[in-house]
């Protein structure tokens, strides 16, 4: 206590209030971890770390130079990092390495990936601090290779690849259309139509297995559902991904998307390989371009088709009515190329993310029958057998909790990036403008300082007693926070809430005997490391 108040005192005098506040917070954490007494080793090493931090400002705070430089920041050596990532395939364990490194080096540390210096931040309050200090046009990372492809083909950038004012202009248009929960909830009839097909598809698939109940590799199914769902909203059209025979055009798109995904590592190198080396190692760049070609082609076909429909209607003198795409094509707040690019990038961002989360959710439900029963009872109490609407979700707190808890345990983006737009002081370090930061969401959401017994699956930890009950925090922000956060968040939530609710209404979900423990692996996104096979048993 005395220590705390002396720090507080210092903080007042000190210009660097924030870094001291940070020390205070850590001091607080220290109490917690010693009191809990669990995990002695971890607590011990953490305590060591904190003591160090606690002492330094007290000693140095009197001088006005408590800010440390990047050079002083701890972190793995360039060499060990190389071994870790290339030799031991660290790319698929990025989420675990985050945690290992933050335990070893502290909650802010630096690593080098070739020429690229990355400052990782694995502390909830420091993450909050960085995101709250964002300016008008935050930048996620280096998008040069994306831009290069677009320049080469005369394409526009979309929300993911655009920066600065160009990004802000498109974001301002799109957020007014697909970010307000109420606006998005109006799409629930369309999404429910897709859910009906999902349920049908479950029945078809399980009937093909010997036991008549198992659906193999559930993610394939959710992939098709997510694609169908997002296309319904974005393109106002059905793609037929949940039919027995998937139309050829959609198949081609899926192939392009798979190529993009499977060549993730190569495409990552595609950006990293210097241009002059390309003639010698052409494949990554070629695959990168050809998957983009496929993705752009698909959205262009759909956008053009809608445009010609609209024109036809106009010529016939009919009323032009429609959803998102129609609206964009009629109002032209963005030009046609910008519409192609954003449709392409949103579809890319909206499929795997949603499907992995649905796969994990159903897996977790299957592994925790008691929790599944509780959630089912809530759904049954509120809806009976009726299909949910967007508005009903407010009365299904456990369904919301289920999605939040799934994303806490398996954040699809285990880490996010920011390139600092100003000089910052974070955690007592001076971080110059233009530094690449990695925000370690996976670590913070598994940190016991942020979540009690973080390894446990407990959707009810998100339930509020009343409106003034605060349960959430920056420890788990799977969609990011602020003006550059996920623009598809409300769409994804709607798709997941409606699908999970109806699946629970219809089926008892069980783990198939062919599936044991499935662990996560990082492949750009955090995905199931093995196929998840589930049994869908009819509820009476």
């Amino acid at each position: 206590m005395a220590l705390q108040s002396s720090i507080l005192h210092l903080a007042r005098k000190n210009l660097l209030q924030e870094s001291c506040k940070q020390f205070l917070l850590q001091a607080h954490g220290l109490h917690k971890s010693t009191a809990s007494g669990s995990l002695e080793i971890a607590a011990h090493s953490q305590a060591d770390l904190k003591e160090e931090n606690l002492v330094s400002p007290a000693v140095e705070g009197l001088k006005e130079t408590t800010v440390k430089t990047l050079q002083e920041m701890p972190g793995p050596s360039t060499f060990s990092n190389l071994v870790e990532f290339f030799y031991r395939d660290g790319f698929s364990r990025i989420h675990e390495i985050q945690t290992e490194h933050s335990q070893k080096y502290g909650k802010i540390f630096k690593s080098r990936f070739g020429p690229q210096l990355v400052v990782s931040i694995a502390d909830r309050d420091l993450v909050a601090h960085v995101l709250r200090s964002e300016g008008a046009t935050p930048q996620r990372g280096n998008m040069e290779s994306w831009k290069e492809y677009r320049d080469m083909r005369g394409r526009s950038t979309g929300l993911i690849s655009a920066e600065g004012d160009e990004w802000l202009k498109m974001r301002s248009v799109l957020r007014q259309l697909i970010m307000r929960p109420k606006d998005v909830s109006a799409f629930s009839p369309d999404v429910n139509d897709v859910v009906v097909d999902l349920v049908k598809r479950v029945k078809t698939l399980r009937s093909q297995q010997d036991d008549g109940q198992t659906v193999l590799n559930i993610n394939d199914l959710f992939f098709n559902y997510a694609m169908e769902g997002v296309a319904t909203i974005l393109y106002e059209t059905r793609l037929g991904c949940l039919e027995n025979e998937i139309p050829k055009m959609s198949q081609e798109y899926i192939a392009a998307l798979h190529l993009m995904f499977s060549s993730f590592k190569t495409t990552m190198y595609a950006g990293a390989i210097p241009k002059w080396l390309r003639p010698m190692i052409p494949k990554p760049w070629e695959e990168f371009c050809s998957s983009w070609d496929g993705l752009f082609k698909f959205s262009q076909i759909h956008v053009d088709k809608k445009l010609s429909d609209i024109k036809k209607k106009m010529n016939k003198g009919e009323e032009v009515k429609g959803g998102l795409l129609t609206h964009m094509l009629v109002t032209r707040e963005m030009n046609l190329e910008e519409i192609y690019a954003n449709m392409t990038e949103m579809l890319l961002a909206g499929v795997d993310t949603t499907s992995f989360t649905l796969s994990w959710s159903t897996y977790l439900l299957a592994r925790h029958p008691t929790i599944q029963q509780e959630i089912f009872e809530e759904v049954d109490r509120v809806l009976g057998g009726r299909a949910p609407t967007g508005e009903d979700v407010a009365y299904l707190p456990l369904i919301r909790g289920l999605v939040k808890e799934t994303l806490r345990l398996f954040p699809v983006l285990p880490g996010n990036g920011r390139v600092t737009q100003d000089d910052l002081i974070v955690g007592g370090y001076f971080i110059p403008k233009g530094t690449q930061l990695a925000l370690c969401h996976y670590s913070t959401s598994m940190d016991e300082e942020n979540f009690l017994r973080p390894g446990e699956f407990r959707p009810d930890r998100w339930i509020r007693k009343d409106a003034s009950d605060r349960v959430d925090n920056f420890g788990s922000i799977p969609f990011g926070y602020g003006i550059r956060s996920c623009i598809g968040r409300r769409i994804a939530e709607l798709e997941m809430h409606l699908a999970l609710t109806q699946l629970l209404q219809k089926f008892h979900i069980e783990v198939s005997s062919q599936t044991t423990d499935v662990h996560a692996k990082t492949h750009g996104l955090l995905c199931p490391g093995a196929p998840i096979n589930l049994r869908f048993v009819d509820r009476k």
Partner: protein, 179 residues
Amino acid sequence: MSACILRVFLQRAAVMRKAAQQTFSQTRMFPQCVTEINTHSRGINTFTSSLRAEEKVAIHFLNRDGKRISVKASIGDSLLDVVVNHDLDIDGFGACEGTLACSTCHLIFEEAVYKKLGPVSDEEMDMLDLAYGLTDTSRLGCQVCLRKELDGMILRVPDVISDARVDSEKESSTAPPKV
């Protein structure tokens, strides 16, 4: 005949949109409270032109610097509309233009007023949890709409974090040489 209808419709859409866009450039957002009328038209608010009532209420903001700003605002407007329309000088306020992605429109109310504000949606609560300096009577300004009963209310603009950004003044005294 039918061609006529078409033209009328499109023109109307264009005009309406233009009106909306003007609102947009003026206010950086569509009036949040008015759009609710239209929520069932598949989520797109093409008809967001003003349906504002003439009636006004008085609101008093206590800004971060302790200064009091008093304005007369229209019933039906959200508090974000008020800040934007009156060009109130609150740094960083309303960054996501009322789309529930940021919590920079965080405001603190008196207890009695807070109770009159009406229910809070789950999405607002989730974003509120991420607001800096949260209190029991905090709300997001973009989600609070003005009603007659709120006339005369006083609300406080919470402090921002001591900004992580190094401003030039601090830089000279505290920043080490660049690395």
